[in-house]
């Protein structure tokens, strides 16, 4: 659920390092260069990239620009094709049976391990092209004054995908605002040694 929902789950980041002044004007173009590419008409397993905050089908920002007051708002879209294990098993068995009949006519009694792997890959590819990708969207909101970035997800795999895509797009690095890094931010770098040496308190 995104930030405009009644209830949101999210993770907070801070951009570390200097942001070049020239970057601000480049943001719309950088988003477009790393925009989401549709895979409806391919058999690709997954695709991800940025789309417009106001319209997940718009990867060219015709609907609205990313700037909203002191924020840059956009969306990470991730489309994934999934094949259920039961469907895969059934179609692999069917394909394998066909292959067995074929080799028997040639006087052989079994299908080699390499050929089995090949059949499995072909089956997967065939099923992929027949299944529709499932879209998922994750809001990204960047406060350009504080350089805090909010991502509407708490899933570890998605966080890592987002961090890589953000760095690739803007050439900027993100720091997850975990208790340690938030403490460093609030207390200042000169207290780092205390944070590094912290030991758990025994309350009882």
């Amino acid at each position: 659920m995104g930030f405009l929902s009644a209830s949101t789950s999210f993770t907070r980041y801070r951009i570390i390092g200097e942001i070049p002044e020239t970057l601000w004007a480049e943001i719309p173009d950088r988003l477009k260069k790393n925009a989401f590419q549709d895979i409806d008409h391919t058999s690709d397993e997954r695709s991800f990239g940025w789309v417009c905050f106001d319209e997940m089908l718009d990867s060219q920002w015709h609907t609205a620009p990313p700037e909203k007051g002191e924020f840059m708002a956009f969306v990470l879209r991730l489309d994934t094709r999934r094949i259920s294990a039961a469907v895969m098993k059934k179609h692999y068995t069917l394909a394998l049976n066909d292959e067995l009949q074929r080799v028997e006519k040639e006087g052989k009694k079994f299908v080699s391990r390499d050929r089995k792997r090949e059949i499995k890959d072909q089956t997967k590819l065939r099923l992929m092209s027949r299944s529709l990708p499932i879209p998922a969207v994750f809001d990204v909101i960047w406060n350009v004054r504080s350089n805090v970035v909010y991502l509407a997800s708490t899933q570890a795999k998605l966080l890592s995908l987002f961090e890589d895509q953000f760095t690739l797009t803007f050439d900027l690095h993100l720091e997850l605002q975990t208790p340690y890094y938030q403490a460093l931010q609030l207390l200042g770098e000169n207290r780092q040694h205390q944070l590094d040496d912290v030991e758990a308190t025994l309350f009882v």
Partner: protein, 179 residues
């Protein structure tokens, strides 16, 4: 078990110490806190709390929930040396209310709710007005959480922490004896 990333152990220590202290502090102060600018707000930990103790394979988590409950089982866990690892937090300022579930180890927020924002647009309205109001409220809510975390950190790394630690211990003993 090794850390999943560098510094994970420090994140867990700081996050769990903070949430454990926050439960004590919110009860001791009757939920009254203030931002560094002096704005008063109320903060409670309620309805849903998880406590964790032990390490590695011996790690043990107790999750307690109840609408009007005092969460005694979770408090009993603290008296045994467990720490709060996840808690539902409610913040109130006048008639505005925020709610979130904060996880100790990474400060990720789940089910974060701000005061209600009207998304119905009328002609002539700025199309981004509701978005900006929502973000203002979200950051305002986070500001209150940051204020209590900052208060904790100042205490945690000061000479008075040992005294504060004893107060938490007395609060736990008092509550577990009254059960």
């Amino acid at each position: 078990m090794e850390d999943a990333y560098l510094g994970q152990a420090n994140d867990i220590i700081l996050g769990q110490d903070f949430l454990t202290w926050l439960w004590y502090k919110s009860e001791a102060l009757g939920g009254t806190f203030a931002t560094p600018d002096g704005e008063a707000f109320a903060l409670y930990m309620e309805q849903r709390i998880s406590v964790q103790g032990g390490e590695g394979d011996a790690k043990e988590t107790t999750s307690v929930s109840g609408l009007m409950s005092e969460l005694k089982e979770a408090k009993a866990g603290l008296a045994l040396g467990k720490k709060v690892c996840k808690a539902q937090i409610k913040i109130e300022v006048d008639s505005d209310a925020w709610q979130t579930t904060l996880k100790a180890e990474d400060f990720s927020q789940t089910s974060f709710k701000t005061p209600k924002v009207e998304f119905k647009q009328e002609e002539g309205d700025d199309p981004d007005a509701s978005f900006l109001e929502k973000m203002y409220l979200l950051e305002r809510g986070l500001g209150f959480l940051d204020a209590v975390y900052f208060e904790f950190l100042k205490l945690r790394f000061s000479e008075t922490w040992d005294e504060e630690r004893k107060k938490v211990g007395r609060w736990l003993n008092k509550d577990s004896q009254s059960n």
